[in-house]
């Protein structure tokens, strides 16, 4: 899985950025988000990842399914990425799955989430919370240290 992500990433660096007309819906940002989430999920979990994204869009479904086995239900997933606002949050919640968000404030206030991918000062950032990693017995590679914060 990791090798595959690296290979796809390297290939995408080599290929030209130029296009004639962008007739298809533009998916490159979702594509990169998916690759980043794939990196994080594979580093956090052992074994096969089953991803659930609440209210997944058609484009997200198309893109994320290249990197993940998508689960239609929260209960069947072992990794949940919450990237939309859920009004009445009815997510399943137990120790069998990891929760990741795209909202930094949500990460701070809700200890269900172990990390977040969010934007700040027009740059994307990743933050994992040390205590929550320990609680879930997640051992991230040393190279992820720069993203781990002690609150």
């Amino acid at each position: 899985m990791r090798v595959l992500i690296i290979l796809i990433t390297l290939l995408s660096f080599l290929s030209s950025e130029n296009y004639t007309f962008l007739v298809q819906p533009y998916s490159k940002e979702v594509e990169l988000e998916a690759k980043i989430i794939a990196e994080i999920a594979t580093a956090s979990l052992h074994g096969k990842i089953k991803l659930f994204i609440p209210h997944i869009t058609v484009m997200e479904e198309k893109v994320y399914s290249k990197y993940f086995t998508l689960s239609p239900k929260c209960e069947a997933a072992n990794f949940v990425f919450v990237n939309k606002n859920l009004e009445n949050e009815t997510l399943c919640d137990n120790a069998n799955r990891l929760f990741f968000t795209n909202n930094y404030r949500k990460l701070l206030s809700d200890d269900k989430y172990f990390g977040a991918l969010f934007w700040n000062k027009s740059r994307p950032n990743i933050v994992f919370i040390q205590k929550r990693l320990e609680k879930r017995e997640i051992e991230l590679p040393k190279t992820f240290d720069q993203f781990v914060e002690n609150f």
Partner: protein
């Protein structure tokens, strides 16, 4: 064992590198600003966040002045004004500007330039410029060119930013942007700006100036399905050559205040039902004093005498208010290979003269009884995927104009057909035929020729063909366009008239860009065009621009060319507007920039006249100057 350790180390290195690299690529992809482009609505040029930064574009006009088949001039009030190639218009109705979903032209003359043309780009993420008819997609006013300005996303900024610049002639600007996102999905962005305008020219031994101040306030409050935008601007400045018969008024000032509130809501899970409501209020005041013999040439107040030259009032002032309200509802849906968009739009415009007086009449009141218009529109777009590489696009729009006063109610039928063909990854073709109409504005009717005040809508028919070829890091494009206009509304010295014959214009443009790296790029553009009328503006032009970066430095250089021409007894030389600049990034959040503008002092020139067009003269549009700027994010 060692090998395993080494492999482990290598893979972990690659691993972290790839996560860092992915974050970097995620940012640079976002900076390419391609997420909103819609190829189906016309021929498009994108000014991405990356290009805005590298090229040090600080105002919207920095971008617009290099656009092909387009001229940017300074008009008699010292305002920038946009004209189609070869012609110079005082106010232009065929350019539509949108800040996000909101169309920002003046309710009076449909022009954008007074309040919004010099819009600072500090809160702008990217700009898309379409050669096409915007009202097919957004149900708003009709036009040929349209400029979509996308503001920065609060979700991506989540910070505060200070931008400031000062130019060698004394003009300066300060901006503050603040944005944040919340746990509940809502986010906001606030932008505040003030600018000092300095522009002086000497004509006839008299100093003309359009010095003044501007303020901008912009607010965005959004979540996934709601978007509330508020904008405010005021511009107070001297009036340059003004309306004086001799183009050198004793004094004069204009003040314009614009406010808008725009609310968009998306319904349904797939956001396919969109409702939009907006209101715009524009107050404008103008006053001028010119005590010489002939006075001020306010067209409806000119007296023509058998025994002497025509004359107007010695002093003139007006306070006007315009209100626009707009409601828009659209639904998009797919049926097999067809993608449909259908929409309804109702717009009401009112015009109120609060005060209008001259030295001889303290209550002039309205120039015409035309002070209200309601436009009801229905529109339909179908894009049909005939094959994987061939999309056909068809639009139709019906506009019904309900007007008070002597102007007849009218209806217009707008049509467009087009195709986008991408036979291989390297080749792309795009072609459109468009038929549209631009209705007379309150301003046109106020200043209409007295003997023929019932102005008709201008009828535009244009077809375009664009071909693009990409190979490796190169991209080459050719675009051809043919425009014909019936009933063109033209400002003659005695007021606006409909031109009684068809005006045609043809143009061809070549575009080439080559990316050396992700950061370094060269871009060349050249166009030439013809116009069936007497030419009073450039008809050929182009640019060469190079932008790039090395470590903590970004740099650019550009030269914009417009050809010279003869008009009456004037010989307008070629213009070569060359600039270069460098940015030093002290940290990721702090940078200083230096930019030299119009280095060769070969600016474009604009034509002006005195005495109702019996004498013409030309003045430079831009000064030679140096600008120093600073950007700090925290």
């Amino acid at each position: 064992m060692k090998i395993i350790l080494l492999l482990g180390l290598l893979s972990s290195l690659l691993f972290s590198d790839s996560l860092d690299a992915l974050l970097q690529e995620y940012k640079s992809t976002s900076d390419n600003s391609l997420q909103t482009v819609n190829e189906k609505i016309g021929h498009v040029v994108i000014y991405s966040q990356k290009e805005i930064r590298l090229m040090q574009y600080t105002k919207l006009n920095d971008i617009l002045k290099e656009l092909p088949l387009f001229n940017i001039n300074t008009n008699q009030f010292g305002l920038t004004n946009y004209s189609l190639t070869g012609s110079k218009t005082t106010t232009s109705g065929f350019f539509r500007f949108f800040i996000n979903d909101h169309e920002i032209s003046s309710g009076y003359d449909q022009s954008t330039s007074l309040s919004w043309g010099d819009l600072p780009l500090d809160f702008v993420d990217h700009v898309e410029i379409y050669y096409g008819e915007s009202s097919f997609s957004f149900g708003n006013e009709t036009g040929i060119y349209f400029v979509r300005i996308y503001t920065k996303s609060a979700l991506k900024e989540n910070s505060s930013e200070i931008n400031s610049w000062i130019a060698s002639k004394g003009a300066n600007s300060q901006s503050f942007t603040n944005s944040a996102s919340f746990e509940n999905g809502w986010s906001y962005l606030v932008f505040l700006n003030q600018e000092k305008i300095k522009k002086t020219t000497i004509y006839n031994n008299q100093k003309l100036n359009s010095n003044g101040t501007k303020h901008y306030v912009y607010m965005d409050l959004s979540d996934e399905t709601n978007k509330i935008n508020m904008g405010y601007t005021d511009v107070s400045k001297n009036n340059y050559t003004g309306l004086a018969f001799d183009a050198t008024p004793d004094s004069g000032k204009s003040l314009s205040k614009d406010f808008f509130l725009n609310y968009t809501h998306y319904f349904l899970e797939d956001k396919s039902l969109k409702a939009n409501l907006s209101v715009d209020v524009n107050d404008r005041s103008y006053d001028e004093v010119n005590t010489n013999l002939q006075g001020i040439a306010v067209v409806p107040l000119i007296t023509f005498s058998q025994y002497g030259p025509p004359s107007g009032p010695k002093s003139y002032s007006e306070d006007l208010r315009f209100i626009k309200t707009n409601a828009y509802l659209s639904k998009s849906f797919d049926v097999e290979d067809n993608s449909f968009i259908t929409a309804l739009n109702v717009k009401n415009k009112t015009y109120d003269v609060q005060n209008r007086e001259s030295n001889t009449n303290s209550d002039i009141g309205r120039f015409s009884t035309f002070d209200e218009e309601t436009i009801s529109s229905v529109l339909l777009q179908d894009s049909y995927k005939l094959k994987d590489d061939l999309i056909l696009v068809a639009n139709t729009k019906l506009d019904y104009y309900d007007r008070n006063a002597y102007l007849k109610d009218s209806s217009e039928t707008l049509l467009r057909f087009g195709a986008i063909y991408t036979p291989t990854e390297n080749w792309g073709f795009k072609s459109f035929y468009t038929q549209t109409a631009i209705a007379p504005s309150f301003y046109n009717v106020d200043y209409a020729y007295k003997s023929a005040p019932a102005l008709k809508s201008q009828q535009y028919r244009f077809y375009t063909l664009e071909s693009v070829y990409t190979q490796g890091d190169s991209k080459f494009g050719i675009t051809y366009d043919h425009v014909s206009i019936d009933d063109f509304i033209y400002l003659s010295p005695v007021g606006f008239i409909n031109i009684d014959h068809t005006i045609t214009s043809e143009g061809i443009l070549f575009d080439y860009e080559y990316s050396f790296t992700d950061r370094d790029k060269i871009h060349l553009n050249y166009y030439t065009s013809t116009l069936s009328e007497t030419i009073n503006n450039a008809t050929k032009g182009g640019y060469i621009k190079y932008m790039g970066g090395y470590q903590k430095f970004d740099y650019f250089t550009s030269i914009i060319y417009r050809n010279g021409y003869n008009y009456e007894s004037l010989n307008i030389p070629n213009s070569f507007d060359m600039s270069l600049g460098v940015t030093y990034h002290v940290t990721k959040d702090l940078s200083y920039s230096l930019k030299a503008n119009n280095i060769l002092d070969r600016s474009t020139q604009s034509l002006y006249f005195t005495n109702l067009g019996t004498h013409f003269f030309a003045l430079d549009d831009n000064d030679r100057s140096i600008t120093f700027s600073i950007r700090w994010v925290f």
